[in-house]
Symmetry: C2
Subunit: 283 residues, 2 copies
Amino acid sequence: MLTNDKKILIIGMGLLGGSYAEGLTDAGYYVGGLDVDKEAIRYAYDKGIITSGDTVVRKQFVEMFDIVVFAVYPKVMIEWLKKYQSFIKPGALITDVTGVKGWLINELNSFLRTDVEFVGAHPMAGREVGGVKNSTKEMFKEANFIITPTIKTTLTGMSTVRDIAEVLEFKNITTLSVEEHDEMIGFLSQLTHCIAVTLMTCKESSDLVEYTGDSFRDLTRIAKINENMWSELFLLNKEELLNQMNLFLKQFNELKETIENDDVEKMKDIMRLSTIRRSYFDR
Amino acid sequence: MLTNDKKILIIGMGLLGGSYAEGLTDAGYYVGGLDVDKEAIRYAYDKGIITSGDTVVRKQFVEMFDIVVFAVYPKVMIEWLKKYQSFIKPGALITDVTGVKGWLINELNSFLRTDVEFVGAHPMAGREVGGVKNSTKEMFKEANFIITPTIKTTLTGMSTVRDIAEVLEFKNITTLSVEEHDEMIGFLSQLTHCIAVTLMTCKESSDLVEYTGDSFRDLTRIAKINENMWSELFLLNKEELLNQMNLFLKQFNELKETIENDDVEKMKDIMRLSTIRRSYFDR
């Protein structure tokens, strides 16, 4: 349970970390921040979204906190814990915000102290701009929050993470298994980014700007991409992403064949299925 | 020139035909309508967007008009002209709204009377809903209008079609060669529809609705597709569309290889190029 006396440490004071800090501070919690970037910590402190912060990892600071939220890239999180997990208070709850879960939990299982608990979470929120200066708790209001429990997850750990999501006012809080989560992300998020990037890079198209309607803009909005974050996420979910890419390729080639063969009836069948399926996604 | 005394016949009283009719009638032109659907003609007449209309093709009616706008599928247009072109007034200007031009102009070159002139046009406007009841001239305000002249196009024909676009208040009026147009449409419009349809049909995804963020919705918005219109458009621009599909496939497979081979540097290069190119499309 996320009782009022719980102190929360946020590691990584970027867009997501800053937005968590704002939401939790506004709800009355004691929030600390850690980031190597002095400017980010200063900004968060001046804005009043953290009560204390540091740019160096110190035991006396880290051990104050009951809950530790990692708002950094998955590999940074693992490296941090390998170095500093001994600083964390026994019984503390650890959670995260990353978009890959299988890889992360495998890693954690191999070395995480058994007197702390990790409960994975994926707040499906983001903006086209990053950094603490663009952070805002408002971005959670329309977003999904997914918790990915495992057989080791306790009821207390689960309910604490759920409470965090409720305090942050996520629109929808659900749970998925680690495997379901990674498949879903491979399809809905990673495959769509691969498609957008491909469409944007498969030919020089700047001369087409003036003819571009909404379709092309819609399909390439996410082609502006943070290459450091996404290359890491792609490779940490490699197997699932390749599965989803192959599914897409198979169907794309099938559609292509109907065009090559003037197979109007099959083409129309595919289009009708597409129309029906898309209608489930209207809102 | 589109002088005020010009009478304009619109063949096909659907979404585009109705919107043309509204815009031209509101600007003071005499607009007639032809459609096999009695309800559509009655609706357009009752709404006051046509002055006269018919559901049967009669010489006395057709020969009244100086300008004939085909707002029907390309094949329907060709069939209509083959049957009824003798009804059209000598010297009349013929234009269209279809998204394929090479095929259409090849066909017309083989049989169209030499005492009438065809000037191809492509108003890049549409809505997710069809039919005259959803027509509105408002949909042109943010849209591009492309004229596709050939070596046979006269200055008069060209300026008349440009005037129509201006009266309809298109945001942007440009010209492209037939080949440039069909390549551009193959890439920006047809390929994007193929991708959206493929993404929507490559796997059963209705259980993912609640996890879907904006990315997947953006990429599949156009996956609700009119199978009769689009299968015809795809096949009439077959060669160009297949070219564009192959370009996309080549690049998609290249991105896939970087994932398979853990080639982070090349993956980041592709993503950086994508980010730079997409920035040209911001507005």
